[in-house]
């Protein structure tokens, strides 16, 4: 898509500034999160994402570019608002956990559309967990039943605590009911959430976890058509936040739930091949979440409706998170400058720069 761009202030175009790219390491990201606070940052991120969802039409959008193997996927997720360009590198390898590695690792980059020069490189494993939780809570704010206080959190892996705290910070839940097929994961999440202000209930089955919950979050990692929730488990009026179904052949909900729920999606061309939507026929109705947020479409229809946020994660959410980090590291010690870009005094003299470096 050909887009008009606005040049930055000329004072920002000095080569000496442009050659160095601010880099936020994992260590610095953790410091930044603690400096801001986990819940305030989740709220801030949701506000950035919400602002970008409100100007959805303005973005250059494309489904992520995926390279699949028999053990996982590596994806690039680019987007641009015409002034900044962002992309995230992210993998998804469910078998990694068994080998002591993260299922999902990520890093991201923001660049200036006018010059094409990168302006930020950052870890995004932590940032993705934060933005995914912020997006879930933003959706729940619009879709969950009024007065939701209890969330069932099914799948207690790396995302679970972030999801729980975002629902506390943005939706106001006070109780989280945890369940995982591996009880050690539940123990881990319960331990981490102790002292968070949430009442934490460790459950021994998915059925027990959903008792009394208005919000059901599923975040499981198996690359399979699983049925974490079956139809008879889902009562009237709940909001389902389905996070784990995020690639072809990977879903979490029984088809009957998907069929009767009010379905809300991020970017349809991507959700169709990655989300719960892949279980449904082409003409299955859905609403785009950005339309709800911008007021163009209704959210929850009534207190009886089951709403489903069929979350797969979209590039604009990462773009919002990258913007947030760029805006919040200025003037701080939470980054270092990387010598990533060749910057000869005469831009045509790349070879001369190389030769002069020989001395």
């Amino acid at each position: 898509m050909e887009r008009p761009v606005k040049p930055l202030n000329p004072s920002e175009l000095q080569p000496s500034d442009k050659a160095l790219v601010p880099f936020v390491s994992v260590d610095n990201m953790m410091r930044l999160i603690h400096h801001i606070g986990v819940e305030p940052m989740l709220r801030d991120l949701a506000a950035y994402i919400e602002a970008d969802f409100k100007r959805w039409d303005l973005f250059d959008k494309t489904p992520r570019v995926a390279s699949h193997s028999d053990v996982g996927v590596i994806e690039l997720m680019p987007t641009s608002d015409g002034e900044a360009y962002g992309f995230k590198y992210v993998n998804g390898h469910p078998k990694n956990t068994r080998e002591g590695l993260q299922t999902v690792t990520a890093f991201g980059l923001l660049a200036d559309v006018y010059t094409g020069y990168p302006v930020l490189l950052t870890e995004m494993t932590l940032l993705t967990a934060m933005r995914t939780a912020a997006t879930s809570a933003m959706a729940a704010k619009y879709l969950a039943p009024t007065g939701s206080r209890t969330m069932a959190m099914i799948g207690n892996g790396a995302q679970a605590e972030f999801q729980s705290l975002a629902m506390k910070a943005l939706v106001g839940i006070d109780t989280v009911r945890l369940y995982d097929i591996d009880s050690r994961a539940t123990e881990k999440a319960a331990r981490n959430l102790a002292g968070s202000g949430l009442t934490v209930v460790a459950c021994t089955s998915a059925e027990k976890a959903i008792e009394g919950a208005q919000i059901l979050t599923t975040c499981t990692a198996d690359k399979a058509n699983a049925t974490i929730l079956t139809d008879n488990m889902v009562g009237a009026g709940v909001h389902i936040n389905a996070i784990g179904g995020d690639c072809p052949g990977k879903t979490e909900l029984h088809r009957d739930i998907v069929a009767r729920a009010g379905m809300f999606v991020e970017y349809p061309p991507q959700t169709r091949i990655e989300g719960e939507l892949q279980q449904m026929p082409e003409d299955h109705p859905f609403t785009e979440l950005w339309q709800v947020i911008s007021g163009a479409a209704p959210g929850r229809r009534d207190a009886q409706q089951v709403t489903l946020f069929d979350s797969v994660g979209f590039a604009i959410e990462d773009f919002s998170a990258l913007r947030y980090i760029r805006d919040h590291i200025r003037g701080t010690a939470y980054y270092m400058d990387l010598d990533l870009l060749a910057d000869p005094d005469d831009p045509r003299d790349l070879f001369g720069m190389l030769m002069r470096a020989k001395g």
Copy 2:
């Protein structure tokens, strides 16, 4: 595309190793190039690219993912051989030179397909100039007339010296005839190539530059349908190495040259929208360069044929360059480790890692 993968040796799967990603800065890339030597490295890179062109079918290929604006383009160029995954970020902003910035800057990443974890991050502005030159020379080795000794180099910007030295190292040219619409660019290139072993002739027109040349290289930056070479300038038997036409609406050769030349391309779906090929009808014949290199298709037909390498740059060339850097920094001081990947002891305990960092 779903691909089978081969796991790495288990000893390579320790989280402590995986969390840190080797990073090659511009400074370290320059040191590495000088350590190896410019011409030896160009030869080595061509050998890596040639090896990958010979196993072309094995790669997961896609045209680059481009985000266009009215002043330039930002692109992601991913590919995978099923064991490693690589991508390059690269911009193309012809107007940048006037603002003291590079037209093209780039960085790249190599990852392990089995784990999805990055294993190398590197500057690629210099490396792209090196791999582009190595690819040009590899193509000329197969396509240029036997005994080529003189190259005309039209467009004396950042790529010119690299192109010249690669043709010297791989094809055996001894003379380069330089021309640029800006004589200062020609002076710069002539100065940089003094002492290289090449006879350097600065010319005041494209017509003069091509006198007696067997290889004509065009590498100009204007984003327009230019005619750097007109039909009457191109005599029988020459090889044209057209580098500058590399995005939609950006070409360098008069249509009549393209029509009568034997056309050789990298990846047809990309060349069709970016290369000189965009000037021709859908059914215009061409040969894929990898077929020539693997022996599946003939190269130059006879001494009279005008051959044209319609180079736009393809992801596999970057992949080869990334492989080369990965193989050659081991055990050297030409990289630093970046804390790019979150690595909790328990992979499910990302939040616990964050909390423990608070102290």
